[in-house]
Symmetry: C2
Subunit: 340 residues, 2 copies
Amino acid sequence: MAMKALSKTKAATIYEVAARAGVSIATVSRALRDSDLVTVETRARVREAAEALHFMPSRAGRSLAEGRHAANGIVFPDLVGPYYAEVVLGYEETAAEFGGSVLILATHGRRDAAAAVRDLAGRVDGMAIMGHTVGDDVVERLAARGLPLVLIARPPVAGVDTIRTRNERSAVELTAHLLAHGHRRFAFLGDPAVSPDVAGRYTGLVRGLRRAGLDVPAAVPCDMNLDGGQAAAAAVLRDRPDAIVCANDEVALGVHLAAEAAGLDIPADVAVTGWDDVLAARFAGLTTVRQPMRELGSTAARWLHERITDPSRPERRRILPTRLHVRRSCGNHPSEIGRP
Amino acid sequence: MAMKALSKTKAATIYEVAARAGVSIATVSRALRDSDLVTVETRARVREAAEALHFMPSRAGRSLAEGRHAANGIVFPDLVGPYYAEVVLGYEETAAEFGGSVLILATHGRRDAAAAVRDLAGRVDGMAIMGHTVGDDVVERLAARGLPLVLIARPPVAGVDTIRTRNERSAVELTAHLLAHGHRRFAFLGDPAVSPDVAGRYTGLVRGLRRAGLDVPAAVPCDMNLDGGQAAAAAVLRDRPDAIVCANDEVALGVHLAAEAAGLDIPADVAVTGWDDVLAARFAGLTTVRQPMRELGSTAARWLHERITDPSRPERRRILPTRLHVRRSCGNHPSEIGRP
DNA sequence: GTGAAAGCGCTAACAC
DNA sequence: GTGTTAGCGCTTTCAC
């Protein structure tokens, strides 16, 4: 049981503070927000009363009166793996600088995601929407309602700011690198339907291969995690491709495990590449593509703030550059151990 | 600029919906929440009007009227590394099941964290507070105000629910394992002052060493990331300890890198252990302690919900078990490659 | 079954 | 400088 029997001082209102300080609620409101329309003494008296009553202004009351929430939201599919976490982190950090609270909403592929997003929309001054979470129809509705929006890692919608990282072109580059290693028979692990990012990566691979006059493999859909990669690899490895391009690092690491289990050497028997450059990629010697995830989030937060401040500003689109990190897994190089 | 010139339908209110549907606002309110006090026809008419107007109820209005926010918060130091992300994920997932939105607040070691937490407190029906974010005084104030609270990974405060993972005892176990390998001279990397978890781990090491009648090393403070570990390792390795116990995996992996750079073999020249079992630990062959992070978050969310529902329920405390994952880095074993 | 009206806690004119 | 008062958008008695 409650050991010290907390004195549950049921949330005091501005009226009680006013009464205790012997002033009006208007004065309390002013004093607590350091308006210089209030005497220093009164301010002190009010502050004291508020303190004594553990007063905490109700955000709902304020929001209603001010017509704003001082909060914004971010919608993402999930928080598994470092990718989304990093983006959210960058977002929170920057949003906090602008004095806004952050509401998060993970859709987890639920199909009632639209409803959840709508609900979220009612509590924020604006929000960022990532990747494959809700359809364009939802985005358009929100935009039509006048809610400031920023899209992250998904195809643009007319009139809405969008920020992405370079997928297709980076995948073409990656493909070129693999071709230079002499690889000719490719496989792709990941479901283009599951996220715009994956789709872009697959498209890039296809372009790179076509350009070289090579066969284009069908994408092998799989869960975007270690198990997904491992499971899908079993079948794919049977075809003995030269190189397996994976939609992200977790999948690639799953392939890594599967190959190991099958007694295959990477990269001698099969090359493997990932995407994201998670910490494990470095230790697994995985060749991968690094994208500025933190910056993605923080830019989104900044843009959103700017749009909330000035709703009439012109629409913006930006694609952030990525960087290929070549390690051991793509083919033989001089020793790369410990390379960042 | 806006291509399709979005018709910025400034957020409609319940009054406009009522007018359009030819009913009172009370009826709209009822209809939209599927009250059976409203005819099916009226309900349809209202729904139609709401649809047409892109009506989205204002959460502030609702919250004020209902006296609740239908949201709760979680406060954590940071989101870097998988640990906090996993906890937050588990939290969000479970909180969403109970129909609550989730507000996140990363304190980033800011010293105005208390103010931010206080502000957060005004927007939620309850919140979870993790580790080293704000002092007990803040927690006590919130509790006194009657705000439902759950503490995660930090020492209990009277009258407040607390959930943690086993640190000290697991560290004793880990130490025993290292002793069994024959290691005698230890080092500890991590700052006990920086988080209750780290403190517990260090205490466990100390206990294990004392019990064996061995020298107890001072903790070497370092940032809880790869760079921190790498930087601190430089000096520590010079003393040639048999084993370096690290406060988390990132630090351990940093040591890994430093050892490699110094031409030292792990575990032949020095054993290294981490904590958390991040994905990279597996690929680096790092011996570590796994804790149920997701469960930590989801339990917190559930407890919080239960406390909000029934504020008078007795205080609860729980310590979740951990599991030692023995891999290569702690000393010679039969091959452990690919072992989960 | 539906409407009128009284708040919920706060901010911001507008008085004094 | 401080008080009065009218909302902000919604839910919820209480009448009808």
